[in-house]
């Protein structure tokens, strides 16, 4: 009997889990590689078991979906069909030019210095996304955190970043973050959203096609009302104040063009600002494998295949759209992979429901994107002495000079001229801001490795090998 085909899934969030389960149920041996200690990704992040939470569902959503995924994973792990490698940080993936094999390289162990290599017949990239935060004066002060970061720390460790919190920026994530922080006992002083309710109304027909999503939004709005959270639409934080840490923010109202209205600013005392301006996909591994990107997203076909043979992608990596879309895409990818690895052409009729959900949810998230775009006037509010690249402490003035008198006209040149994007995070935090301030096109950075790798790991032959 022929050996079972082997799939590596990178990422154990909604897309990765759905893909791993769909493939495993169809006779594929799966290695699920994830950086976290427990499955679920950011969306299904759980309190650490050592915290003894009886009601783990409290800071969470879609508990029943989670239970189904978790039970499926447990079942397949018990039979050995799925191997789940936790605390494994993938730093590179490569396709063997001489065969059809794909190799995934990870760092394991408490100190992330132990190299682990996984070789398989196909790979599903379910690498998720991360939050975009555009700079403003004071955004590097301790006490300023990303909205998603505040939520992750609350979900995983059951801690609050402070007592009096302003949630600000733009995007659908701000609602659950504000509601979650308020329900956990924080005083949420304001929810500051730069988008206008009128823009939402203009997209009403598309949004109304997703009644479940609208009900979810209404549920968060009701919780905010119950906790007395003040909502300030078409407002933005123009400055965070404090010396050693945050003590207040200045909030201003915006006109239709995204400019601050004269006289429309006021100060709100707070010890925490949770801020975010939408999300960006993680595309490093796809990029190193040679997959074509479409804008910031990994380009996939109707089966979730990238244009590199043996490489599939699903979830936020192929375009930010939320957990429900990630589940649908992962499910389709897993079925496609199973059929292809068994040498069959898949029958799309078998995933028709998931394909319909995918189409609906992509249309929905495109409509949300158009509503929740950062206000066009944001660059004007970034003073020259504001740090833009947090790692290398490059200011907006440095970026403007490099793009102006020094003639830098693309992100790579600006990086070489200013060091913006050359630090630890490799430009993940600053690239959208550098692009916005300089007028350069925003292109995802080409990074040789998806995370810092100890020289010792690069210098030694592959460690523990899992074939």
């Amino acid at each position: 009997m022929a050996e079972q085909p082997h799939l590596t899934v990178v990422g154990a969030g909604p897309a990765g889990l759905a893909g791993a389960l769909a493939a495993a149920e169809r006779g594929v041996r799966v290695t699920l590689v994830d950086a976290a200690g427990r499955p679920g990704g950011q969306f299904f992040r759980q309190p650490d078991p050592a915290l003894g939470a009886d009601r783990k569902q409290t800071p969470h959503h879609e508990w029943r979906v989670w239970k189904r995924l978790r039970d499926g994973l447990d079942r397949h792990r018990a039979t050995g069909r799925i191997t789940h490698l936790t605390d494994h940080h993938v730093w590179c993936a490569e396709r063997d030019p001489g065969s059809t094999e794909i190799t995934v390289y990870a760092l394991a162990g408490a100190t992330q210095e132990e190299g682990v290599t996984v070789r398989s017949d196909a790979v599903l990239l379910a690498t998720g996304g991360y939050e975009r935060v555009l700079p403003f004066p004071g955004w590097t002060l301790p006490g300023v955190v990303t909205a998603g970061g505040a939520q992750a720390m609350l979900k995983g460790s059951l801690v609050l970043p402070g007592r009096k919190i302003v949630v600000a920026g733009t995007g659908p994530l701000l609602l659950p973050v504000a509601a979650g922080l308020a329900s956990a006992g924080a005083q949420v002083a304001a929810l500051v959203e730069s988008a206008s309710p009128r823009a939402l109304l203009r997209r009403a027909p598309v949004l109304a096609a997703q009644p479940g999503k609208l009900a979810e939004g209404a549920g968060y709005a009701a919780r905010l009302l119950r906790h007395g959270v003040r909502v300030l639409p078409r407002h933005t934080v123009v400055e965070a104040h404090g010396t050693g840490r945050l003590t207040a923010v200045t909030v201003a109202s915006l006109d239709r063009r995204g400019r601050v209205r004269p006289g429309g600013a006021h100060r709100i005392a707070c010890d925490t600002l949770a801020v975010g301006h939408g999300m960006l996909p993680h595309t490093d591994l796809a990029d190193t494998l040679g997959c074509t990107l479409s804008g910031t997203d990994v380009r996939v076909d109707s089966e979730q295949r990238t244009d590199v043979p043996g490489v599939w992608a699903a979830g936020e990596a192929t375009g930010i759209g939320g957990a429900a879309l990630a589940l649908a895409e992962g499910h389709i990818a897993g079925r496609s992979i199973a059929a292809r690895l068994h040498g069959n052409a898949p029958d799309p009729c078998q995933w028709a429901a998931a394909a319909r959900a995918r189409k609906r949810l992509r249309t929905f998230s495109a409509a949300l994107d158009s509503v929740y775009a950062p206000p066009p006037g944001w660059t004007d509010r970034v003073a020259d002495d504001t740090v833009v690249c947090r790692c290398e402490e490059v200011t907006a003035g440095d970026v403007r000079t490099a793009a102006g008198s020094l003639g830098g006209s693309d992100l790579r040149t600006l990086k070489l001229l200013t060091r913006a994007g050359m630090g630890w995070c490799q430009g993940r935090m600053c690239a959208p801001a550098v692009a916005g301030l300089s007028g350069c096109a925003f292109t995802p950075g080409r990074r040789p490795f998806a995370r810092p790798v100890p020289l010792g790991v690069l210098a030694t032959p592959p460690g523990q090998r899992l074939d």
Binding site: G52, V145, M153, G156, S157, P161
Partner: protein, 100 residues
Amino acid sequence: MNPLEPARARPGKAFTITFDGRPLGARSGQTVAAALWTAGVTAWRSTRGTGRPRGVFCGIGVCFDCLVTVNDRPNQRACLVPVRPGDVIRTQEGTGREHG
């Protein structure tokens, strides 16, 4: 109300860690960052260039702003590293290599 209550969490007994020599209580299941947040500490790094204070920013291991020295190992991401009894946490100055 604290965030443990709505989740009906019953964490294990608190243990002691030190932050810059000061004893702090911490619990299993927390990251270093969560333990410091619980103790009201929000800054534990000063930047290499201008010596500005920093703490957690992204909270999920992407931004590297929360780097800290744990048991004499510099450059650990406080948002990812689980806290252990007796951990010696120190504010990381610059690259963290000068004193170590």
